[in-house]
């Protein structure tokens, strides 16, 4: 009997998550799905390092290596780093600006399901004839030459999830512009909100070029167009431009929110307001702007000529200035502060030297003439792992520990958290520092093996040993999550005790509607101001009243599922007669669901004032 009840309970929960439009639950969905893909990408990374541990290894075949390497990059960028950041944004951002949800809760759910089905579609390639094998950049000549369906899994999967990302970006933009509570002016917004805002603007401008280039590639491969086919007058360099016009801002889409998380962490655990807040905002916006001006530094060896190379070199160097401002601001935030070495703070402290190394090697890459040597070697692999792992992944792990109580109402174990950090930190530097030298010593990137007698043996072995450290660190993290979830010790509003912004003023996890009464913001670090004046909670900005909330809906799932089905149809249409009907059928599901959404009125529901008064303060059952 009890098992029946449990099963129903599970199904009810599942249905709840399949239909939810609540930003907090969508955050959990992003976290679980992103975490799953992160593990996949991590396993792929380990396979790569096992293969490259010794020269002439045959652990992976050349063909299999290219698939694993391509999927590692694609998965980590599109299906791990971005969704994990979206998880944190969804969990925290509406709380930080004092909103009850994002501007478009329905679109928020739609964005998640698009990403999810895109990721599943891409990874099904492993079971359906092989995974993409042209690198995460999928350069046109090679991606056109790749046989079978491999690249089609890449293009269609990325396309579907890209729609989701674009929606998420627009949603955050509108939310931040329109949904700030009384007194939350732009220049009082927490830094994580600011960076999310700029990153979302970057998504808005960077993803359309990706969408276009991916469509070109889809059409070339599936419908016989010739955008990139040189023999038919196409041009492969156009792909490089379009891809990097997306690809470089993408780096900042990832790293700006990371900066935001570290700004919060450093400020909280130094017990100081962010040093030079205005210049931090300015630097963030400037990085976002310059991020669009530098894409061709990925193409210094393409043959654009010295004028283009020189211009893009100097433009790229310029980005170092606002980034440097940020680093010094963080250091000065800690200066004179009261630093507590919690797990999130350890990640922030580990981030600063790691990211400085990643940043300065970025400047070295910007020196176009020298980059002719670095380009497409392990030097570049070392460089971007320092920025993406040392920047973005450290930030995600810091954010995960920091906001875990806010998301789940319980704290991750600090001892295990610190063990994870040290394993990760040591493993990370072991793996990637030596790669700079490997590159300069003549090792191109994306090579499935290397030959003996070229002085590359030691470096590669060291690198592989480092990867093992990180793998152990990840396992400790998983153990930590399991232990924490089983114990499930509930914590209060402000479990770190030094919370400064609005999210720490509500219960952990917050009630469905976030704020019973929207709070009044009186300055930067709104909750800190109230705390310092001896108050325990925010001053309300409105009288207690009915709260309007959106209804759950299964339609986002169906819209995305339709595209998932249609993608299979489009992919198999040239080979099988059932392809076309499946393509049409999938689109019917998608557009039919959209039609239902448009025609059926859904006014949401109200949480009555009386119910709100019944809930004893903050004791709200979540």
């Amino acid at each position: 009997m009890s098992s029946y009840a449990q099963k129903r309970g599970f199904l009810a929960t599942l249905w709840d998550y399949l239909t939810t439009v609540d930003h907090k639950k969508i955050a959990v969905l992003y976290l679980v799905a992103g975490g799953f893909f992160f593990v996949l990408g991590g396993i792929e990374a380990i396979l790569i390092r096992v293969q490259l541990a010794v020269p002439n290894n045959d652990f992976l075949s050349a063909d299999m290596f290219n698939q694993v390497m391509t999927m590692h990059g694609t998965t980590m960028i599109f299906f791990a780093a971005m969704p994990l950041l979206f998880a944190l944004m969804n969990a925290v951002l509406p709380l930080q600006i004092g909103a009850r949800d994002v501007a478009f809760p329905f679109v928020n759910a739609l964005g998640f399901w698009m990403f999810f089905f895109g990721g599943i579609f891409l990874n099904l390639s492993w079971f359906l004839g092989g995974a993409p094998d042209a690198g995460w950049t999928s350069y046109a000549s090679l991606s056109l030459a790749s046989e079978g369906k491999r690249i089609d899994f890449y293009t269609l999967g990325i396309q579907i999830s890209g729609f989701g990302t674009l929606m998420a970006g627009i949603n955050f933009l509108v939310t931040i512009i329109n949904m700030r509570t009384t007194g939350m002016t732009f220049m009082r917004m927490p830094m994580f909100t600011w960076t999310t805002f700029v990153a979302s603007a970057l998504i808005l401008f960077a993803f359309p070029p990706l969408t276009i280039s991916i469509f070109f590639l889809i059409f070339d491969r599936l419908f016989g167009s010739q955008f990139f086919n040189v023999e038919m007058g196409g041009n492969t360099i156009i792909w490089e431009h379009l891809f990097w016009i997306f690809g470089h801002p993408e780096v900042y889409i990832l790293v700006l929110p990371a900066f935001g998380i570290f700004s919060e962490v450093i400020s909280i655990f130094s017990r100081k307001r962010l040093f030079g807040y205005a210049s931090m905002v300015f630097a963030t916006v400037l990085i976002g702007f310059l991020g669009f001006m530098v894409w061709a530094h990925h193409m210094f060896t393409t043959g654009l000529g010295p004028i283009a190379n020189a211009i893009f070199a100097v433009a790229t160097m310029a980005i170092a200035v606002p980034t440097g401002i940020k680093i010094f601001n963080w250091l000065l935030t800690m200066w004179g502060g009261s630093i507590k070495l919690t797990t999130p703070m350890l990640y922030a402290l580990g981030f600063i030297p790691s990211f400085v190394i990643g940043g300065v090697t970025g400047i070295m890459n910007a020196a176009s003439m020298a980059d002719y040597q670095y380009h497409d070697t392990y030097f570049v692999v070392g460089h971007f792992h320092y920025t993406i792992l040392g920047g973005v992944v450290f930030a995600i792990l810091a954010g995960l520990h920091l906001y875990w109580p806010k998301m789940f109402g319980t704290m991750l174990n600090e001892t295990l958290g610190k063990i994870t950090f040290w394993l990760f930190f040591i493993g990370f530097h072991l793996t990637f520092f030596v790669q700079h030298f490997l590159g300069l010593m003549g090792m191109p990137r994306r090579t499935y093996t290397f030959l003996e007698g070229q002085g590359l043996e030691t470096g590669n072995m060291v690198s592989s040993i480092g990867a093992a450290f990180m793998a152990v660190g990840a396992i400790v993290l998983v153990i930590n999550i399991i232990i924490t979830s089983v114990k499930n010790q509930k914590v209060g509003n402000d479990p770190w005790e030094d919370g400064r912004t609005l999210e720490w003023s509500v219960s952990s996890p917050p009630p469905h509607y976030n704020f019973k009464q929207l709070p009044l913001v009186r300055g930067i670090d709104a909750y800190w101001i109230e705390k310092m004046e001896g108050r325990k909670e925010m001053t309300p900005a409105e009288p207690l009243g009915d709260i309007h909330m959106p209804n759950s809906s299964f339609i986002p799932f169906m819209i995305s599922f339709g595209l998932f089905v249609a993608a299979f149809g489009a992919m198999y249409r040239p080979d099988y007669s059932w392809g076309l009907p499946v393509l049409v059928g999938g689109l019917v599901i998608t557009f039919g669901s959209m039609l239902i959404r448009s025609l059926k009125d859904d006014h949401g529901h109200y949480i009555k004032k009386e119910e709100l008064m019944d809930d004893s303060d903050k004791g709200v059952q979540a």
């Binding site: 030459a145 040093f275 060896t301 010295p306 507590k340 020196a367 003439m369 093996t449």
Partner: protein
């Protein structure tokens, strides 16, 4: 201040030079430059590394002080500082100056390396490079000859390269001689390199070249070699190549048998054994073998000896996965392999 900075820069670059020297093998490492281009790039690498280490040092010092001095000891609430305009201006301006120090040589060097003005000069060595899955062809248009897999180049003069690809993108890279240039199927890219004779001697007069752009399964194995020789030796090689207008008649009986196998099994339909560049590029579908016996490596990666040649011909797929030669010929018997190896090793032009 300025002088202090440049003094520190000097010390740092000395330190960096010390650290970086001894990195990698002289025939394949960008840190062991063996020519003008690689040297320029190496100097810029050193300069940028020095500046960057300076930045890292400043950050590290601040970082360590912060970590030691400002750990939480009691429950006090620190002063909530808003910012400091003077400091913020300083850490905006100093990086700009450092970047200018780096930007000037970068721009200058970028233009210097793109200077192709010597291409048309009388006697200039020009090489048309064509990359294919997974081998390299080198055409010397002025001399009217073609070779593959192993470049023969004179030292101490500029060599002008025009590079392209016949299938997918590759990238032409000789780490010890200079940075890379992509070979696009769309267009011809041009640049120059130079080999320093003394450095070449240290590297055994043979440099490793690589493909640096992912091009398929055997991307990692798409190597080629550069034989650095004196001007006289180079001219002798060119004359030798030019002299092979008809397939060379083998001397030994075994080699003769090898030649028969070569012709009957269809090797000759893809692999020329004469050096003239009269056939159009599209018709040159396999590496030219005219001077095969003098090359140091088979297929760019195996040592050139009887056993390795036989290993390559027995099953090329095992040596270079997804190469285009696999399956284009009937399996060879051990006798035929022996004869073919003998024949191929006899293909020499400078003796």
């Amino acid at each position: 201040m300025k002088r202090f900075t440049s003094w520190r820069l000097f010390l740092l670059s000395a330190l960096v030079t010390f650290l970086l020297s001894g990195c990698g093998e002289p025939y394949v490492s960008a840190l062991k430059p063996a020519g003008e281009v690689a040297q320029k790039q190496y100097e810029l690498i050193l300069l940028s590394t020095a500046i960057m280490i300076l930045v890292i040092l400043v950050v590290t010092v601040l970082f360590v002080i912060v970590l030691i001095r400002f750990r939480r000891k009691d429950d006090r609430i620190p002063e909530q500082v808003e910012g400091n305009t003077k400091l913020e201006i300083i850490w905006t301006v100093i990086p700009i100056i450092l970047l200018l120090i780096l930007a000037i040589p970068t721009v200058k060097g970028t233009f210097a390396l793109a200077d192709m003005s010597g291409t048309d000069k009388e006697g200039a060595v020009v090489v048309n490079v064509r990359a294919s899955l997974y081998w390299w062809e080198f055409e010397y248009p002025n001399e009217g000859i073609v070779t593959s897999q192993e470049l023969v180049l004179p030292t101490d003069e500029r060599i002008y390269f025009h590079v392209t690809a016949s299938d997918v993108k590759h990238s032409f890279w000789i780490p010890a001689l200079g940075g890379k240039l992509d070979t696009n199927p769309d267009n011809v890219n041009s640049f120059w390199l130079e080999i320093d004779s003394e450095a070449a001697e240290e590297a055994g007069n043979l440099f490793y070249g690589k493909c640096a752009e992912l091009c398929g399964p055997s991307h990692a194995l798409m190597d080629f070699k550069v034989r650095a020789v004196s001007r006289e030796e180079y001219e002798r090689w060119v004359e030798g190549m030019k002299a092979v207008t008809e397939p060379k008649e083998p001397e030994t009986a075994l080699a003769k048998k090898g030649q028969e196998v070569f012709n009957e099994k269809g090797c000759i339909s893809c692999h020329a054994v004469t050096a003239a560049n009269t056939a159009p590029a599209e018709a040159r579908i396999g590496p030219n073998l005219t001077d095969f016996g003098e090359r140091a490596f088979v297929a760019g990666i195996l040592e050139n000896n009887r056993e390795e040649i036989k290993r390559w011909l027995r099953n090329p797929e095992k040596v270079k996965p997804a190469n285009k030669m696999t399956g284009t010929y009937e399996p060879l018997t051990e006798e035929e392999l022996e004869a073919l190896a003998e024949y191929l090793m006899s293909l020499k032009v400078t003796e």
